[in-house]
Amino acid sequence: MFYLGAFSILIFYLELKRIRSTKNKKESYIFAVCMVVVAPLLTLQIGEVIDFRIVDAYIWAMHPISSPFMHLFNQ
């Protein structure tokens, strides 16, 4: 968890530096926002502080379609 946190900060810095060098301000903001959301999410997840699962949401969203299938396959 700590290694990943440190790595995230490092990669964040390096990548931001690269994007800034392309003189593209808007995109560096987009990147920064994305990273600020995503990196702590993963770090905390791996540290087992939070339990965050995208796939579960996906499975839930697919439920109406998948239930007939489940029925079919469970025969």
């Binding site: 990943l4 993963l42 995208i54 796939v55 998948s66 396959f73």
Partner: protein, 364 residues
């Protein structure tokens, strides 16, 4: 610089994409449904697969070779198009993370016992990100370098395991439950050919598009036959019960190799094949996903998305499937693959057909 890949390279990617992951799961899945006739199901899906591949290439070529994303937008309009694109992308995302999860699981269970899976995922996804960031050209050329080794290992594996074959394992041929064969066929099709829908995303990078039809088939059919053969071998060597019980039958197949008591237990070959094909599959899908994000957000620099998205994929592959994978496989993954891999292209195909007809009608 516009990067281009040749049709031959595309065929290689198709081969690698089809082999990746499926080579390790298809024997199990097929044996579950078809028992001793598992290989027949895979063989039949190969024939069905020809039509799937032809549908993809026709869809692409009929629309003058535009990018899949702009194609969807053009045919279905802005709003509906966006929805379809999002579904498509979510599928690609799911595909990447599921593949990553399976390969990680395999490595941490079979190869690196004791190493935390986090590290393995991390190594895998960072290598994939590096590959995708270097562009499609580098990606395909890397695949080109490893391609002969992958094919060689496959052949080697098949040839070396031949002495262990027990013919009685496949008998009696053709005696089994027809509904099961059908269901198995569907799920195998969605694990193999329907996943190739992702390749629609890189078709516009190909150099000589008119030859795509032929080369897509050249790439995918041998791959599917290879899977058939491996399934057959699994059943011939291991038997039906073990094949459907083992999670990684091809790895066990490698362990069975014993030539003159010296060349034995070279399951590393199986690991090699699977790791590399799976890796290229992840990379291709990631590239297609990046292309989609670039299309939606219209950012100039598509690299900015690679890192955040890879974090999300990491997160999914970390524990997203841990408890639910086998449920997920049949209940969520198969339907979404059928929707994205079959119904969406079919819809696009029909819409483009109607539009074309109305266009010609208007002109005359």
């Amino acid at each position: 610089m516009i990067e281009k890949i040749s049709v031959k390279q595309f065929a290689m990617l198709a081969f690698v994409n089809l082999i990746g992951t499926s080579i390790i799961f298809i024997p199990t899945v097929a044996a579950n449904y078809g028992e001793q006739n598992a290989w027949i199901i895979v063989l039949v899906t190969t024939f069905v697969g020809i039509f799937v591949v032809l549908m993809y290439t026709l869809l692409f070529l009929k629309n003058k070779g535009t990018n899949i994303y702009s194609l969807i937008e053009k045919l279905l309009g802005k709003k509906l198009g966006l929805l379809i694109i999002l579904i498509f992308m979510s599928y690609v995302f799911l595909n990447i993370s599921a593949n990553l999860w399976t390969v990680t699981q395999f490595i941490s269970v079979q190869i690196l016992v004791g190493t935390p899976s986090t590290v393995v995922i991390f190594m895998n996804i960072s290598t994939a990100v590096i590959a995708v960031r270097s562009g499609i050209e580098v990606l395909t050329r890397t695949a080109e370098v490893f391609f002969p080794f992958i094919v060689l290992s496959l052949i080697l594996l098949c040839v070396m395991v031949l002495p262990e074959v027990r013919i009685e394992n496949v008998l009696p041929i053709l005696k089994s439950n027809k509904l099961n064969l059908f269901l198995g066929g569907i799920s195998i099709l969605s694990f193999t050919f329907l996943e190739l829908v992702i390749l629609l995303g890189i078709m516009d990078d190909v150099d000589e598009k008119e030859k795509l039809n032929k080369y897509f088939l050249i790439g995918s059919i041998p791959a599917s036959l290879m899977i058939t053969f491996i399934t057959l071998l699994c059943i011939l060597v291991l038997g039906v019960e073990p094949t459907s019980d083992y999670t990684y039958p091809i790895y066990v197949l490698g362990q069975k190799i014993n030539i003159a008591s010296f060349i034995q237990r070279i399951e590393g070959i199986g690991a090699f094949i699977w790791f590399f094909t799976n890796f290229f599959k992840i990379c291709t899908s990631l590239y297609v996903l990046m292309k989609g994000i670039k299309h939606i957000t219209k950012t100039k620099d598509d690299k900015i998305w690679t890192i955040p998205i890879s974090y999300l994929i990491f997160s999914c592959a970390y524990n997203g499937y841990n408890s639910t994978f086998y449920d997920f496989d049949h209940t969520t993954y198969v339907p979404i693959t059928i929707i994205v891999g079959f119904f969406i292209p079919l819809l696009l195909f029909i819409v483009s057909f109607i539009k074309k007809n109305s266009n010609t009608f208007n002109k005359t």
